[in-house]
Amino acid sequence: MKRTTVWSRPSTRVAVVTLAIFFLGALFAPVVAPYNPTAQPDIVALKDLPPSVAHPFGTDPYSRDVLSRVVYGARLSMGIGFLATLISVTLGVAYGAMSGLAGGFVDAVMMRVLDAFMAIPRLLLLIALLAAWHSLPITTLILFLGFTGWFSLSRIVRGQVLALKESEFVMAARAIGANRGRIVVTHLLPNLYSVIVVAATLGFAHVIVLEAGLSYLGIGVPQPLASWGNIIQDGAENVSGLWWLSLFPGLALLAAVIALNTLGERIRETFQSTR
C-alpha cells in the first residue's frame, strides 16, 4: 500500500529547506555574515546605503550592514523562539497530561487554574514586568514568552489524554497487565507526538512573531543587539526612504513563519493519514 509521507509533498520540502537555511545561517552566523553586525565603520559615508554588491541588503543609519544584522538577528529571533517554545511545550504537555491522567476533581481544579491563567492577557503581564525592568534581559524575555505560551497546548493535550485514556487500545493494554508507566510511555505519549509536534511548530512561529512585535515596540531585544523585530523597527521611521531596512528582515520573518506553519500542517496531515 502506498503511504503518504511528509516528504511526498513539495511544499514540505520547500519548508524544510527554508528552515534548514535559517537554522544553519543562525548557527554559523559569524561565518555567514560578511561584517560585524554591530560595527559602525563610517557613520557618515556608509550610512543609509541602498543594496549593493558590498552590502546586498544595504546599510542602516549607523552604517551597520543589514545582511549581517539579519543573519545575527536570525540567531536571536529563532533562538529565543526555540527556547521559549521548548519551555512552553514542556510545561503544556506536563500540565495537560497530568490533568488528563488525574481526571476527576484534580483535573477540574487544574483546569480552573488554567482558566485563570488564560484570563490574564500577556500584555498585562508584560507591563508588570516592564515596571521591574526597563528593557527586558533576553533570558527574562525567553522565560516570559515560554511561561505564557503553554496554556492552549495543555488544554489540547489534556483533551487528547482524556480521550486516549478511554480508548480501547489503552483498555486492552491494561487488560493485558500493563502498568501506569508503561501505558503512558508506550500508549499515550506516542499518540500525542502529532499534537505536540504540530503545536510546537505552530507555537514556534507564533513566538517569533511575538518577539518581533515586542522588539519592534522597543521592549524586546535591546539595541545594539540585532533581532528581526528591532531591525524592522530601525527602518520603520523611514520606510519610503530606507525600504531595505524593514523589507529584508520582514521577508526573513515571513519566510520562517510560513515555513513553520506549512511544516506543522503537513505533519498533522501525515499523522492523520496513518490513523
Binding site: M1, G104, F105, D107, A108, V109, R112, S167, E168, F169, M171, A172, A173, R174, A175, I176, G177, A178, N179, R182, T186, H187, P190, N191, Y193, T274, R275
Partner: protein
C-alpha cells in the same frame, strides 16, 4: 445457580457512573449501568450476553475484568475474589482473563507494529524474550490466520477482519482461560464475520477457553453460545440455555427482541411485536420492572410498576425476571397488595417464535 464447577461467578454486580455537573464536577446523580447482575460461567462454556445499546452488557464485561471499577458486588474467578486483588494480584489474574473489543480500529494502538502489539503481553508477564518471543508472535499470527511477515506492519494497513484477528492474537498471547468477547464481529461484514466466529470457536476447542460473548445480534449469539443472558437497562431479564431461550422466550422483552430480528426468507411474512417508544434513560430508571413502560404482556398491571421482579427459575435452568409469567415467588396476594389486578398468566405469542 451454584458455584460448583464455575470458572467465573458474578454476584450482585453493580456499576454506577456518576453524573457530574458544575464548576468542580460535583456529583448530581448516577447512571445505573449494571444493576444487580448475577451469573456463573462454567469452564469451557460460552455465555452469550445480548441486549441493545445502553443495556449495560459492555460495562458488565469490563467490570468483571476490572477495566472499569465495579461499584459493588462479588466477582469470583477460580474462587479468587477479583475485587479484593491489589495491583500486582490483578496484573497476575489478567493473564487468565482477557478481552477482545468490538472496534477493530480503536482497539489497536496506531503507533505500534502488529508485532509489538502482540508481544506486549509476553514482555509484561515475562513469558518469552528475544527470539523466543519472535517465534511466539509468529506462531500466534499463524494461529489466527495471519502471516508472520505481518508483524512489522501497522494496524492501519489491515482490513477490519484482519485487525480483529490481531486483537484475538493479542488476547491469546498470555494463554488466558477466560475471554470476554465484546461484540467482536459487530463491525464486520457478513462473510468476514463468519470467518472470525469460526476462528473463535476453533480456538475455544483447541485451548479449552471459556467465553463471555457479548453481542447485540441474536443470531450470532444463538450460533456461538451455550447459554444466553438477555440484558435490559442494566439487569439480566432472562437467562437460559440458548436452545430454550430461542424455543421458548418468556420475558416479554426477549420476545420482542426475537420477533424484531429480520428473517432472511421472504416467504415468511412474520408477525412482529413492535415495542412502543424508546429505551428509557438509565439515569432515570422506571420503578418496579424496568421494562414495564414498554411491556406487552397482557397481564401487565400496577404491580409491575411497584415490584422489582426477581430473576427466578420458570423451568430447569431457565431464569426470567417477570412476575407475570408463572411460576413466580411473588405470590398473587403480594401482587394484589401492590395494586395488581391481573393474575399471572403464561404468555408466549407466536410472533416470538421461529
Amino acid at each position: 445457580m451454584s458455584d460448583n464447577g464455575a470458572l467465573l461467578s458474578v454476584k450482585n454486580l453493580r456499576k454506577e457512573f456518576p453524573i457530574r455537573k458544575g464548576l468542580l464536577s460535583r456529583q448530581v446523580g448516577a447512571v445505573k449501568a449494571v444493576n444487580d447482575v448475577s451469573f456463573d460461567i462454567a469452564r469451557g462454556e460460552t455465555l452469550g450476553v445480548v441486549g441493545e445499546s445502553g443495556c449495560g452488557k459492555t460495562t458488565a464485561g469490563r467490570s468483571i475484568l476490572r477495566l472499569i471499577e465495579p461499584t459493588a458486588g462479588e466477582i469470583l474467578f477460580e474462587g479468587k475474589d477479583v475485587r479484593a486483588l491489589d495491583t500486582s494480584g490483578l496484573r497476575a489474574v489478567r493473564r487468565d482473563m482477557q478481552i477482545i473489543f468490538q472496534d477493530p480500529v480503536s482497539s489497536l494502538n496506531p503507533r505500534m507494529t502488529v508485532g509489538a502489539i502482540i508481544r506486549e503481553g509476553l514482555t509484561i508477564h515475562k513469558l518469552a524474550e528475544g527470539s523466543a518471543a519472535d517465534a511466539r508472535v509468529s506462531q500466534l499470527l499463524d494461529e489466527v490466520g495471519l502471516r508472520p511477515e505481518h508483524r512489522t506492519r501497522y494496524p492501519h494497513e489491515f482490513s477490519g477482519g484482519q485487525r480483529q484477528r490481531i486483537g484475538i492474537a493479542r488476547a491469546l498471547s498470555v494463554e488466558p482461560k477466560f475471554i470476554v468477547c465484546d461484540e467482536p464481529v459487530s463491525a464486520l461484514d457478513v462473510s468476514v464475520q463468519a470467518q472470525v466466529i469460526n476462528l473463535l470457536q476453533d480456538l475455544q476447542r483447541e485451548h479449552n477457553l471459556t467465553y463471555m460473548f457479548i453481542a447485540h445480534d441474536l443470531s450470532v449469539v444463538q450460533h456461538i453460545a451455550d447459554r444466553v443472558a438477555v440484558m435490559y437497562l442494566g439487569r439480566i431479564v432472562e437467562l437460559a440455555p440458548a436452545e430454550a431461550l430461542y424455543r421458548e422466550p418468556l420475558m416479554p422483552y426477549t420476545q420482542a427482541l426475537l420477533s424484531a430480528v429480520p428473517v432472511a426468507n421472504p416467504a415468511v411474512k412474520k408477525q412482529r411485536i413492535i415495542l412502543q417508544g424508546d429505551v428509557p434513560s438509565p439515569a432515570k430508571l422506571p420503578p418496579g420492572c424496568v421494562f414495564h413502560p414498554r411491556c406487552h404482556h397482557p397481564a401487565k398491571d400496577v404491580a409491575c410498576t411497584k415490584i422489582i421482579p426477581p430473576l427466578e427459575a420458570k423451568a430447569e435452568g431457565h431464569f426470567v425476571a417477570c412476575i407475570k409469567q408463572p411460576p413466580t415467588q411473588v405470590s398473587w396476594e403480594q401482587q394484589q397488595q401492590a395494586g395488581g389486578t391481573k393474575p399471572p398468566e403464561r404468555y408466549l405469542p407466536t410472533a416470538a417464535l421461529r
